[in-house]
């Protein structure tokens, strides 16, 4: 079985963001980078499936500048077998259609049995790439999975809907599955596995070899949202904060008797 897992490297969402010089995206300076959280569940599910299937291989793929190899090394340390890095210093400017096209150009010749990816990225959050990729490869796709079982011939997945409801969907491979938070418990890479990962194959391919299409959506500008609500901000010594907050609760609410 051949398994592909597509991941993205994103900034820590608690970062204090600044805009880039062109004002089209966040500046990539002074940020802590990590694997897109949704993708951690995708990597874990890929590895679990390989462990179950036995004779199987997990390929991890990511698009971006050289720094994204750090996120790929984490996936390799979690247990992926090898990495394919699509080198693109300007990946932040590509739209989901272009990103999916580049992945499809690579994956089209590889005949993967199953492709896992996060349901969306934490930074751009379009929730499109997995489905576009599936469409380009002519594969069925199920999004937002929070449950996955494979019985050797058929997969049963649980799709998360609103309000705690899930739908149960059965499908055969090949297929694309996009992963929601909580699908499994992503493992932490152990030190021996981090060492082992350093020896695993990680090839880089130039984006120009794979991407042949123009963007369908372009970014005119990126900005900070206007703060609408923005209530009172309290900072300082814990003792004083407590007194202030209790005073506010007494004045503004009826919850303190």
């Amino acid at each position: 079985m051949k398994i592909l897992v597509c991941i993205k490297q994103v900034p820590d969402m608690e970062s204090r963001f600044k805009l880039n010089a062109a004002g089209t995206w966040y500046s990539d300076q002074d940020l802590a980078w990590r694997m897109n959280e949704y993708d951690e569940f995708a990597v874990e599910q890929a590895i679990q499936l390989r462990e179950q299937a036995g004779d199987a291989e997990v390929v991890v793929l990511s698009i971006g500048p050289d720094r994204v190899k750090e996120a790929m090394k984490k996936a390799l340390a979690m247990g992926a077998d090898r990495g394919v890095h699509i080198q693109d210093d300007a990946s932040y400017g590509k739209d989901p259609y272009q990103i999916a096209s580049a992945i499809a150009a690579y994956a089209g010749e590889q005949n993967f049995d199953v492709i896992f990816t996060g349901m969306q990225s934490q930074d751009r959050g379009s929730a499109q790439v997995g489905l576009l990729l599936a469409g380009m490869l002519g594969l069925p796709a199920v999004t937002t999975i929070v449950g996955f079982e494979y019985d050797g011939s058929q997969a049963t997945v649980r799709r998360e809907l609103e309000g705690g409801l899930k739908s149960v969907v059965k499908l055969s491979f090949p297929a694309v599955l996009t992963c929601q938070l909580g699908l499994n418990t992503p493992r932490y890479p152990t030190l021996p596995n981090i060492m082992k990962a350093k020896k695993k194959e990680l090839v880089s391919l130039p984006i120009a070899d794979l991407l042949k299409v123009e963007a369908l959506v372009t970014t005119a500008a990126t900005r900070f949202p206007e703060r609408k609500g923005g209530g009172l901000i309290l900072e300082g010594d814990v003792g004083e904060l407590t007194e202030k907050l209790v005073a506010i609760l007494k004045e503004k609410t009826t919850v303190l008797k």
Binding site: M13, E14, R16, F17, W25, Y26, P96, Y97, Q122, D123, R124, G125, S126, A127, Q128, L131, L132, G135, P140, V142, T143, T144, E160, L161, E162, G163, G164, L165, K166, S167, V168, V169, K170, L181, G182, L216, V217, T218, A220, A221, T222, F224, P225, R227, K228, G229, G231, L232, I233, L234, E235, V238, G239, L241, T242, E243, L245, L249, T254, V255
Partner: protein
């Protein structure tokens, strides 16, 4: 401008997001037709043309067939915009449609400004202003971003579509979340724990504050996903929607899915080390502090 609005029905009911697509069309002054895979027994309240496929034949989750039907309607209506909710149905169907039409898709739209659309990025800490470069544009709308001024009203002119059975994906039914335990929707005071509590042992501080205030404790998605709290404690679009007199968000960044579940609370206090956290947008008071020091101090003070 012509817009095709994608209504949603689930388990025999029209979902409220359907009317948000209508509010969006009204806002941009578009002429609207609607598409629904549903039933004649539950039609959306809308004065206009409704293309209706029977859910009993098409299936409630059968994206290939829903897409095929939708493409039929797009061919008839030639809309410039196809509008869906950014919901589990909408975000699943929209890219399939966009690809089939070679259309640009703009996800989770919160505003329309001239010929551009505004979408959130980085957990709503940023906004992107985007422009589609295609003749047709597919958009999904952030839940709650657009709403009708009044109650939905009207009766559609129904045009039926013939749905076909058969699918690559076999929909095998629904699973409800486990019921029972606490009902947060009835609580007047809720103190919720988010990822910022750091480790499960710290949940006791949140529970203690809830108890001192005479309320219940809740949790955000990551806390429930990590198994630190039960699902019946989860506040947000995939958990419970609550509207207590007081909501205290402890270490909750304020992802849109969480805000959707608690923004109708009367009074919101957020406690967070990140003063830029989006929870600040809905908080009446944002306390910038370390939970491990602040929560026990506040609990002690309330118990005096």
């Amino acid at each position: 401008m012509k817009a095709l609005l994608i209504a949603e029905s689930r388990q025999g009911k029209i979902l409220p997001g359907s009317y948000e697509t209508l509010a969006f069309a009204n806002k941009i002054g578009a002429e609207a037709a609607m598409f629904l895979v549903g039933s004649e027994d539950a039609l959306p309240k809308f004065d206009g043309r409704l293309y209706l496929a029977d859910v009993a034949a098409a299936g409630e989750y059968n994206p290939d067939e829903h897409l095929r039907l939708l493409l039929e309607v797009v061919a008839k209506e030639s809309p410039q915009l196809v509008v869906l909710s950014h919901s589990s149905y909408g975000w699943d169907l929209a890219p399939r449609l966009a690809l089939a039409l070679q259309a640009g898709q703009v996800s989770e739209v919160v505003a329309c400004e001239g010929d551009t659309l505004v979408v959130p990025a980085c957990n709503s800490k940023l906004q992107r202003v985007v422009r589609a470069q295609s003749g047709v544009t597919v958009v999904t709308l952030q839940s709650g971003a657009f709403s009708l001024a009044g109650e939905p009203a009207g009766t559609p002119t129904v045009e039926k579509l013939a749905a076909q059975a058969g699918a690559k994906l076999e929909f095998a039914g629904y699973e409800e979340a486990e019921k029972g335990g606490v009902d947060l929707s009835k609580a007047e005071i809720i103190v919720s724990a988010g990822r910022g509590i750091g480790k499960p042992e710290n949940l006791v501080m949140v529970e203690a504050l809830a108890k001192a205030l005479g309320g219940e404790y809740g949790a955000s998605r990551p806390v429930v996903d990590s198994g630190w709290a039960e699902h019946n404690r989860q506040v947000g679009s995939t958990g419970q929607t609550v509207a207590p007199k007081l909501y205290v968000a402890c270490g909750i960044s304020g992802a849109i899915q969480h805000l959707a579940g608690m923004k109708k609370s009367d009074f919101v206090i957020a406690i967070n080390t990140d003063r830029d956290a989006p929870i600040g947008e809905v908080a009446d008071v944002l306390v910038v502090a370390d939970l491990k020091q602040f929560l026990p101090a506040l609990t002690d003070r309330l118990q005096k």
